[in-house]
Each structure stands twice: as C-alpha cells, then as structure tokens.
Amino acid sequence: MPDLLLELLSEEIPARMQPRAADDLARLMAEGLSGAGCTFDRVEAHATPRRLVLSIEGLPAAQPDVREERKGPRTDAPEKAIEGFLRSAGVSLEECEERVDKKGAYYVALIETKGRPTEAIIADLVPDVIRKFPWPKSMRWGSGSLRWVRPLHSILCVFGGDVVEFEVDGIASSNETTGHRFMSDGRPITVSSFDNYGMQLESAYVMLEAEARAAVIAEEAADLAAQARLELVTDEGLTQETAGLVEWPVVLMGAFDESFLDLPPEVIITSIKSHQKCFSLRDPQTGNLANRFLMVSNLIAEDGGDKIVQGNERVIAARLSDAKFFWDQDLKVALEDRVPPLKDVTFHARLGTQAERVERIGTLAGEMAERMGVSVNLAKKAARLCKADLVSGMVGEFPELQGLMGSYYAHAEGLEHDVADAIAMHYKPQGPSDEVPASKVAQAVALADKLDTLACFWAIGETPTGSKDPFALRRAALGVIRIVLEGELKLPLSQIIRPHIAGPIERRMETEPGYVKQLIAKYLEDGEDAAKAEENWDKGRREECLAREVVAMSDSLLSFFADRLKVYLRDLGARHDLIDAVFSLGDQDDLLKIVRRVDALGIFLDSEDGQNLLAGYKRAANILAAEEKKGTKVEAEVDEALFEGAEEEALYAALQGAENDAVVSVSEENFEGAMAALAQLRAPVDAFFDAVMVNAEDEKVRANRLALLGRIRAATLQVADFSKIAG
C-alpha cells in the first residue's frame, strides 16, 4: 500500500493561519481521495512558517474497478435502437449479455470501468485543492493568477516513492524541497517518503511539527528561567504563536533596566508580548516580575545569540520607554478630567459617544446599587469613571489593558478602593471561565455596563444571528447571568430593561430617517392607512409607538436571556426539560428565581414522591388530553356533592391544601416548600387512581372527576409545567 507525501512550500505563512491550514489540507485531500474511492489508513498534516505538509498512508495503487450493468433494448429491436444503445453505453455487442424475462430476450450491457491509478487521481486533486484552498485571505503575485496565502514556490508530491507529475500555474511538482531559510546549506533535498522527508528536514533545521516546536520552546524557556532562578510567566497562546514564527526555535534570554519594574506588571507583560512576542519572567519567591525576558529566535547563531539578544534588548528598552512615557503622562491627568473627552469617542455610529454611554451606565449602576443595597454614590462614581481610561495613552497603545489601567490610575490618585476595583472589574466576566466581580459595587457597574450594551444593540436591531455576534452580546448576557447567579442577586430584568431601552429607541426615532415609518407600519391599527398615519404623526402616536416598541424590544431581549440561561444551565448539567418546565410558566424575568426553581424541581423529581407524583400527573394529563381532544370541556370547579368515595374527598382536600401551600411557598420563593406541598399529593393521587374509575357511567360524576384531575394539573402548574418534563 503506497503512501502520499505532499509539501507546499511558500513564503512566510501568518502564524495564526497555520493550524487551520494544516487541518484544511488534510480534510480536503482526504475528502477528495475518499470521494474517488481511494481509502487509506492514516492522514496527518503539519504546518511550519513556510510549508504545509501532508502525509497519507496506506492508499491503494488504483481506484477500485467499477462494474455496472445497463439494461438495453430487446434483442429483436430495430438495429438503429440497438446501435444507439451500444453507443450510449460505450460497449460493443460482444460486451453485452442476453437475458430473458417474461416478455422475451433483451440485451444487458456490461460496462466495466477500470479504476484510474491513484497517482492520476492525485495529479488532478492536488491542483484543484490548491486553487480552491480556503485561506482567510489570499493574494496573487508576479504575473500569475494563482492565489495563495503568500507566493507559492514549490510543490513536492511523492506517491509510492515517485513524483506525481502535474503543474499549477507554472509550478511543476517534484520530489525536491529546501531546508531552513538561513541555516540549511540551501541545496535541494530529494525526498522519497515521509520518514525520509522528516529526517532530512530535521538535519536541515526544520522541525515539522508545531507541537514539537512549541514543546522545545516551553522546555528551553523553563530551563533558561530555572538557570536564572526565575519562573516563566506561562502563556500558551504566545507559545503557539512563536512556534508558528520559526522553523527551528532557539530560546534566548535578555534583560531590561530595573527601573522599568516601576511599571504595573501587566503593562510590562503586555508590552513585550504584543509588540515583541517575548515572554516575561518572575521571581518565584516574591511573585514579582524580573527584569528579564525570553525571546524565541529562528537561528542557532554563530556568536551564541549575543547580537540577537542585544538587538532585542534595545527594542524592548524602547518599547518600555514608550510605556513608561504613557504611564507618567497618564498619571498627570485625573480620571475625572478624562470624562469630558469621551464625548469625542464614538461608541457606535448609531448609539452615540462613549460619554453618552457612560451617562447611561451611571444611571443604571445607581439603580442596581439601590436594588442591591450598596452605596449608590460609589457605584455611580465608578460608572462615571469606568471608561475614562479609553482616552489614556496606555490604553490607546494597549487596548487590552482597558479597565485595569483605569483602576491603577484610580488607585494612584487615591480614589476609594471600591471605585478602583469596580473600574478594573466592570468588564468581567469575559466568558464562562473568567472571574465574576466579587464586590457588590463592581457587580453593580458590571451589570449596568452589560445591560446597557444589550439594551442598546437590541434597540437598533443589531442582535446576534447564527455564528455572527460581532458585539459579543452572548458573552454580555452570560456575564449578567453569572453575576446574578453567583452574586445571588434578585433583579426583575423586565422592570430594569424597559425604562432603559426607551432611550436608544427614542434616539433612533430622532436620528434615523425611516425608523418612524417602520414603527408606524409595525403598530398600524387594523384597517388604518399607513400614509395617513404618517401624516397624522403626533405626540400621542409617538408615545404609543414608543411604549409598544419598548415592550416588544425588552421582551425580545428577555427571551434572549432565557435562551442564554438555558444554554448556561445545560452546560452546568441541568436537565433541559426541567428548564423548559419552568420557562413554560411564562413571565420569568428573575434569573435567580428561575434557577432556584429548576434546582428544587430537580431535587424533588429525584425523590420517590416526585417520581410518583409525576407519574400520577402524567396519567391525569393523558386522560385530560384525550378528553379535551374529543372536545370535552373540563370544569374548573369541583362539586363535592358528586363525590362517591373517600379517595375523591381525600384528593380534593389534599389538592386544596397543596395548591394553597404551593402558592404561598412560591410567593415566598421557598421552592423546596412548594415541592414539599406537592409531595403531599402523591399518596392521595395514587389512592385515587387505584380506587376510582374516572370514566363513570354518570355523566356528571365523570365530569366532576375530570375537574378533579384538572385541579391536579393546576396545582402542579404553581411550581412548573409538568407537561414539559420527560419520563
């Protein structure tokens, strides 16, 4: 079984595109070969800064032969018909068989297609894959028309030891490649197999596997750090990225002036990482940053790397000087003085400036603080200053430090700890594993920031669709959910969102031509003429449209929260049928309450009482459903006079008690209590079904018993919609 080796050698491929490109190459080639009937044992693909490499093991020498039969005309058909058939099937009469059925004899063409040699399949497939390769961005070069991520230089394609010959835009395939750009001797390397390719590349200073390069980087970095009695500030992303920048990693250590250690550590780490792709080091004793850094070079230098280190040190010193300059300059301006300039910074073209945004967040943060019982003043102050660092020099240079820098500046000017903390933490949590702000003030500002973002983008219709969520609204909603649940905050979201979303909607009415028209059309009375309504647009109509749109948009946002909460709970392992059972109750806008109800429901249903009650409920619901399908109306009221046995009386009494207890417990948000109230129903429900025949002869008795079953459904609805529960 022959193997295939393919190498596409190009100019430097951006590091971030390499892993995906290797996967795409493997996928497209595997699909192409499988599609042609060429199965294989193993496929692997690799990427370096200059090459995409694919190895497929255990391919057949050729496609399998295909035998096909095609039914033709009768043997006594006119000659022309038979000739036509032979022509279309591409066979001669000798290659046909005569078969007989009830109506007589007819021809069957036996078409045998020899499988093409795999080599020929590859020769067609590779150029096709190259031409259609899904690079995120590709380019042309020279006078050619081929597109590749950067100019493609050579194609090595060897199958079973031999070159598969083809040409793509003037590049002919071969069995040759070259080694490391600077360290190999530059002579062509002739290759016959993947093993032999890997070995030769290794001796020409190319490590093929990204994981191997990353491992060398991690290992050499740890060694160098240990030798200096330091510890690496690990950064998996940076390790991967640097592994994509070199074919032969060599880690070196450099130093910078100790005076730069006055800068906040995050500034140093970010500065040398984002500009120079270097690693920071810290003292394991104190945890403080050291004035050392590690760089990953692509060269075993003759001088041991002295010049490389010197060069990098000079660049890092210049970078840190810039950072120091920003830091010193920024400290001269109070955060409060950075608030007015926010009016020159656009938040979003349709949503106004950062100043307007800060204004809104302040109002909302105050409201949150009040509901949470923390200082409204502190929350408002933090909210007012939370975006001020956007116009600082440091954040201009390193946007990823927003929030954190504001917090440093707040500390430096002696603002309240809560305020400084809230400025740093208000962007959090940034995802499912990021930390939730711990202090209540920070929670208030973080909630305000996220709710404002959500309300605003909802108001302008920029909601997430499918995989598109350019404003990270799902993340914002998840942030709200996590803060509310982990902070155990009781917040009626509808009440909060409605007044807040009115602002951006009004803004749209005033600034977006056509929006008023849309609203009129949306809320047109039956039979009313749109053009007339537009003409008669007045304050009253405006108020009405606004009010209705506010409700519509906040309901839409609320159901988005419901969806995100479901996803969140499901990820935590909650049963989604239970979530549905709670959401199905409607009007759920208190996230904490929903989750507590789901939790209590889960515990209840895990108990024997719960299981049995559920079974009883299902039985009742099935009977009711069958009746309702027939058109029977189930009475809401039960008539005690119609009871014939003790079980009916007992169930009725239990229902009244349980329903009442459940209502009281739910109103107190004591969901365990509500479940316990329902649990009381289990025995009487069981007894009822054991002893009583619902389908009584007497019409009235029967109707009364159905009403009793209806009450079981009603009682359980106080807690959850049991019809949504599986099992």
Binding site: G142, S143, P151, L299, R314, I316, A317
Partner: protein, 325 residues
C-alpha cells in the same frame, strides 16, 4: 589627527555601518546593479514613499517597472519637537518597486540586508504577518513587516489593489525605514546621534546637526501655527483642481492627457489633510469623510493613469489586435 586635518578631503567612511549616507549609497548600488532605475525623491510633500508616482501610478497597468529611490516622508502628527529619540515628523524611506514581483524577491531583499552588513549567521531575520492598507490611496496588499532581532526594519508588500484597481501584474514593494535601519546597524539609540556622513572627529556630521532644528521648527508649525483656515481652503482648492484636471485631460476617446498633474493635486490634498489632522481640527466623524474624499481623487487619478501611455493605454488593444491577426 593633525595629519587628517591637513588633508584636502576629510576622512569619511561610506561603510553603511558607520554612515547614514553610506547606507543609502549601498542600497542604491545594490538595486542599481539589479537593474532598477535609481530615481530621485518626488518633489512634493508626501506621507510615505508609496505616494511617489513611481510607485502609486507605476504599480497600475500592464507595463513592467523597476525603480528604487529615497523619499523624504512627512508625518506631521509624529513630530515631537526633537525630544523623542525615535519619532520624527520628517524622515526618509527607501523605496523599491519591482513589477511584476520577481519570484526571488525575498532573497533579493535579504541580499540587500547582507549588503549593508547584517550578517545572516548572527541576526534573526523574520517575516511577520502585516497586511498593508492605505485608505487614502484605495490600496491594499499582503506581506510582512521584516524583523531583524526583534526590530522592524522594513515593510514588504505584494500590491493587490491601488487606487481601487486590481494590480495585474502584481508589484512587490519594499520600504526600508532608513533612520531605523541606520540606528540599528550603527548601534545608536537616538536618531539624532546617527553619523550622517561617516566622518570622524571634526569631520563627523550627525543626523541631529542636519535635522534637529527642522524637527523643532516643523513641530511648532504642525501643531501650533499652521493656519488651519488656509489649509482647509488649500485642501478644497487641491480637490477642485484635481477634478478639473481630470475632466480637462480626458479626451473622451480612451486617452487621458493629464493624469500626472491631476495626481499631484491628490498628493497635495492628502498632505493637507495630514496637516489638518495634526492640528486637531478634524473630528473623528469628519476624519472618515476626508479620507474618502482623498480616496475618490486617488481612484479617479488611477483610472486616468490607465488611459495614458505609462498606464499602458493602447497596449491591451494592440495585443488583442495581434491576437486577432
């Protein structure tokens, strides 16, 4: 020393590692030997070497082109009154444009680095992803910034579009930041300390002696004194003149007679915009609209250029005729 001062000619070195002008001359010699035309800077204020018509316009259309030149580049808002060791409002770019881009462009470029004394066995040279886009020129390309020991020393770009027109063939553009490169090879941390002429002792002329005063004076002009009303007027004049020349030069028969003068007005408008920007009189929202106005000029000039001889007007028609015969 005495002996040296008695000499009629001062002791200067043209070693690119010791002389700023030596660096320029080395690059000139290298690219001239390759066959590039050594052109002189364009005689207008521009923000980058790319604006020189030898790049912008020559990169459009079918005709081959090889040129190298130094272009003084002005970035008014980068002025620091001569107080920042790395930032200048006026600096030099060394620009090479090869059309079509040769297959060994990377090796050619590396050859130029070796020529100025960057030894491949001891320096870590890297091609780091950097997509280039010039919103004002309606241009973009893919390539890298080239790092030498962590320092960005050049931009390396394969032009895909200029003036909104697809580049066929594609040009390869190399832009060396000369001061930065010189600081690196001379081992100097402050641009003003660069040895300009390669002289020693009394004969040494530093970059600061040549340009420090200019940096101070122009920073004052750029940030404080440039008359913004006049600049705004000039911008509008340049825009109008550009449009007028484009109109007047178009024969209506597929030829254009004034693509180059029209493009000069586009360059002018672009620089005036940069000055206005440095004076802080352009708001964020206005900024975009100014950029679009300059881009419209650039696009119209690019289209006009295609109707000139330099832009290959008539060539495609000829080759079609030939193909028909």
């Amino acid at each position: 020393m005495l002996a040296a001062s008695n000499k009629a000619t001062p002791a200067v070195s043209l070693d690119p590692q010791r002389s700023f002008q030596g660096l320029i001359l080395t690059l000139h010699n290298y690219w001239a030997a390759y066959g590039a035309l050594i052109l002189q800077p364009y005689d207008m204020e521009v923000g980058a070497g790319t604006f020189h018509p030898a790049t912008t316009l020559r990169s459009i259309g079918p005709r081959p082109w090889k040129a190298a030149y130094v272009q003084p580049s002005r970035r008014p808002s980068d002025g620091r009154y001569g107080e920042n060791p790395n930032r200048l409002q006026h600096y030099y770019q060394y620009q090479v444009l090869l059309k079509p881009s040769p297959p060994d462009l990377q090796e050619l470029y590396l050859g130029s680095l070796y020529e100025i004394g960057i030894d491949r066995h001891n320096h870590d040279i890297r091609f780091v992803e950097d997509d280039w886009e010039s919103p004002t020129l309606g241009a973009w390309g893919l390539g890298w910034e080239v790092w030498c020991d962590g320092m960005e020393v050049s931009q390396f770009t394969y032009f895909q579009q200029v003036g909104g027109i697809d580049c066929t063939p594609v040009s390869g553009e190399l832009t060396y930041g000369l001061e930065r490169l010189a600081m690196y090879v001379q081992g100097v941390d402050n641009v003003y300390d660069l040895n300009f002429n390669g002289g020693e002792g009394e004969d040494r002329v530093s970059y600061g002696e040549v340009f420090l005063q200019a940096e101070q004076e122009y920073s004052r002009f750029n940030f404080e004194h440039a008359n913004t009303e006049a600049l705004l007027r000039h911008f509008e004049d340049a825009e109008a003149e550009c449009a007028a020349l484009l109109k007047a030069g178009d024969t209506g028969e597929g030829l254009h007679l004034m693509g180059l003068p029209a493009y000069d007005q586009c360059i002018k408008a672009s620089h005036l915009f940069n000055l206005l920007d440095a004076r802080g009189v352009i708001s964020v929202t206005e900024r975009q609209s100014y950029i679009l106005r300059v881009r419209d000029l650039a696009k119209a000039c690019a289209e006009a250029w295609l109707k000139t001889a330099g832009g290959g007007a008539g060539e495609t028609a000829n080759s079609e005729e030939e193909a028909n015969h």
